[in-house]
């Protein structure tokens, strides 16, 4: 039995945890419960009367074709963002893992995008790809691509995917490089003596050994793509053109604050909440199985 430490009846421990608890209550539990409550209400278009409708809002979602479209779009968006952000970070980390001189500079530079606020990042990309002013749009025009993400839905999607992935590369890079550097050097040397070249070593030794990190990042990136990309999309396309870049979080905003369908919007956020809870559970389950290196 562990001995308990007795603080007497002091309120000190309560005071110490109070700030954290208050923050959680005010910013997480309260809005979440509001959303839960709202999702059961139906408000008329002028906000004059509300009616308690049980799960009608959810039933509406379940039969709404547009909502399914948004779901598919979000899935595509998340997979693309996670895939590109992780793939790119993995390549960078594999290369950074091999260099020794100037490694710190290289790493510091790679981490910068992470420090940029989503909306600022979005503004940056809008500017670079602006159909009339943007330097990249110009370059694309030169090589024969008619770039106009304000009219072309696929191009708009490509742009938000790129902007979102770009911001997440730094984060992934940090985790990948840390994982790679925790692999004992002698393992890599043993593989080199066994005749494996750098590429073979990467695929047969390094990559399998960083699987836990890869999985962790996959979940983090999907969550990021689902939720944290709101700022970027808002700055770059506002979900357009013609909803081509409207993902689930953006639809919550659009339907609730623009369309003023508070009940439907709240129901959508409850669905999102369930998704993020599910992802978190998967993550915690898996992270307990850690790989031993030696």
């Amino acid at each position: 039995m562990l001995k308990r430490v007795h603080y007497g009846s002091s309120i000190l421990p309560f005071l110490l945890v109070a700030p954290q608890i208050i923050i959680t209550l005010v910013f997480f539990i309260w809005p979440a419960s509001q959303a839960l409550y709202q999702s059961l209400l139906l408000e008329d278009a002028f906000g004059l009367s509300t009616e308690f409708v049980w799960f009608d809002n959810f039933a509406d979602l379940a039969t709404n074709k547009l909502y399914y479209d948004t779901f598919r779009r979000t899935a595509f968006f998340s997979v693309s963002v996670a895939g590109i952000a992780m793939g790119f970070a993995l390549v960078l980390a594999a290369m950074a893992d091999r260099i020794i001189k100037g490694a710190l500079t290289y790493r510091t530079l790679l981490i910068w995008p992470y420090a940029v606020a989503p909306v600022v990042a979005g503004a940056l990309w809008v500017f670079m790809f602006d159909p009339t002013l943007g330097i990249f749009a110009y370059a694309l025009n030169v090589i024969g691509v008619d770039w106009n993400h304000k009219l072309n839905g696929s191009q708009a999607m490509a742009l938000v995917v790129m902007a979102s992935a770009w911001k997440q590369v730094a984060y992934n890079f940090l985790f990948f490089i840390a994982a790679m550097q925790s692999i004992p050097k002698s393992l890599i040397e043993a593989a080199a003596i066994d005749g494996a070249g750098p590429v073979k070593r990467f695929f047969t030794v390094i990559f399998p050994l960083i699987t836990p990190t890869t999985f962790f990042l996959l979940v983090v990136n999907v969550v990021y793509a689902f939720f944290d990309t709101f700022g970027i999309i808002h700055a770059v396309t506002q979900g357009g053109p013609a909803k081509a870049t409207e993902i689930l979080v953006y639809k919550v905003y659009n339907d609730g604050f623009v369309g003023l369908d508070l009940g439907g919007s709240a129901a959508q956020s409850v669905v999102l909440m369930i998704i993020v809870i599910a992802l978190t559970v998967i993550q915690f389950r898996y992270i307990e199985k850690k790989v031993e290196y030696s």
Binding site: P184, A190, A192, I193, D194
Partner: protein, 360 residues
Amino acid sequence: MAEIILDGVRKSYGKVEVIKGVDWKINDGEFVVIVGPSGCGKSTLLRMIAGLEAITQGEISIGDTVVNELEPSERNIAMVFQNYALYPHMSVYQNMAYGLKIKKIPKDEIDKRVQRAAEILELEEYLDRPPRQLSGGQRQRVAMGRAIVRQPAVFLFDEPLSNLDAKLRVQMRLEIKKLQEDLGITSVYVTHDQVEAMTLGHRLAVLNGGVVEQLGTPIEVYEKPATVFVAGFIGSPSMNLLDAELDDKGGAVTLAGGAKISLPEPLGAQGGRSVTFGVRPEHLKDIGGDANSLRLSLNVRVIEQLGADTLVHGTLGENGTELVARLEGIRAMAPGDVLDLNMAAKSIHLFDSKTGRRLG
């Protein structure tokens, strides 16, 4: 089947030189042990042979080939690491087969070699297990197996037993020795363990500060250490090393405490200088001795009973130089006793104080 030749091999990290010119010829089938204090460059030297460190200057050949520019995998070597370096995500079988698969050796040949190695190393029942489910000794054997299946020309070992407990170490030491004898593969073995250094190899190289101080059979190194460093490093407890003056005729030495010892074979021309006088603790006796024996008297300070032996620490004279004697069996004595010690004339060593080189 290969000999290893090192010709003026040097290694620098930036401005710091860690290997300062090593010339060696290791014969085909020979087992050479490298021993030396921490940081003296043992691993660096081994890793240069393996191809894991670039060679700053000089030439290394394995067989008839200069390997300076060859990749580790092209040198026909196998290496066993201190931490075993097993691939954690592969089974024992896959660990051993990995290198062979890369070499595109046919599947049934791989299987034959792995099974054979598993048999030699008694690993048959563990082939499907991942390394984390093995004991330290078993992991060590898998690492050996991975080396054997490659059928290399050279085995390189970097302190392979230092992570094992004392008992297992003894067992694995014998196994490695036997394996090397059976396979007859040229081997270089790095250690800082006295016993491994003395027992494993045909020859022993004592490395200090990037310089090979002596290369010879373990017995040569023990009986005729070439330098003061080797004298103090090989043997446990270490050799007693005392400051002394060699008289002009080279016929007698005077120890710092005043004791005078005449030498059986005068050193003639080398006389008249400061020397370091050495005698191993196990060569000091408190009984026996004859007219030719050299004599010292020891003021006993501390006694350590080891069971088989007794270590007696004391000083020459009241407050003279410290000295250790290792006497056989259990002895009844107490601090403050004065012990008369004798030693055979041929068991003493003299080194030049300035150069540290052996005299005579």
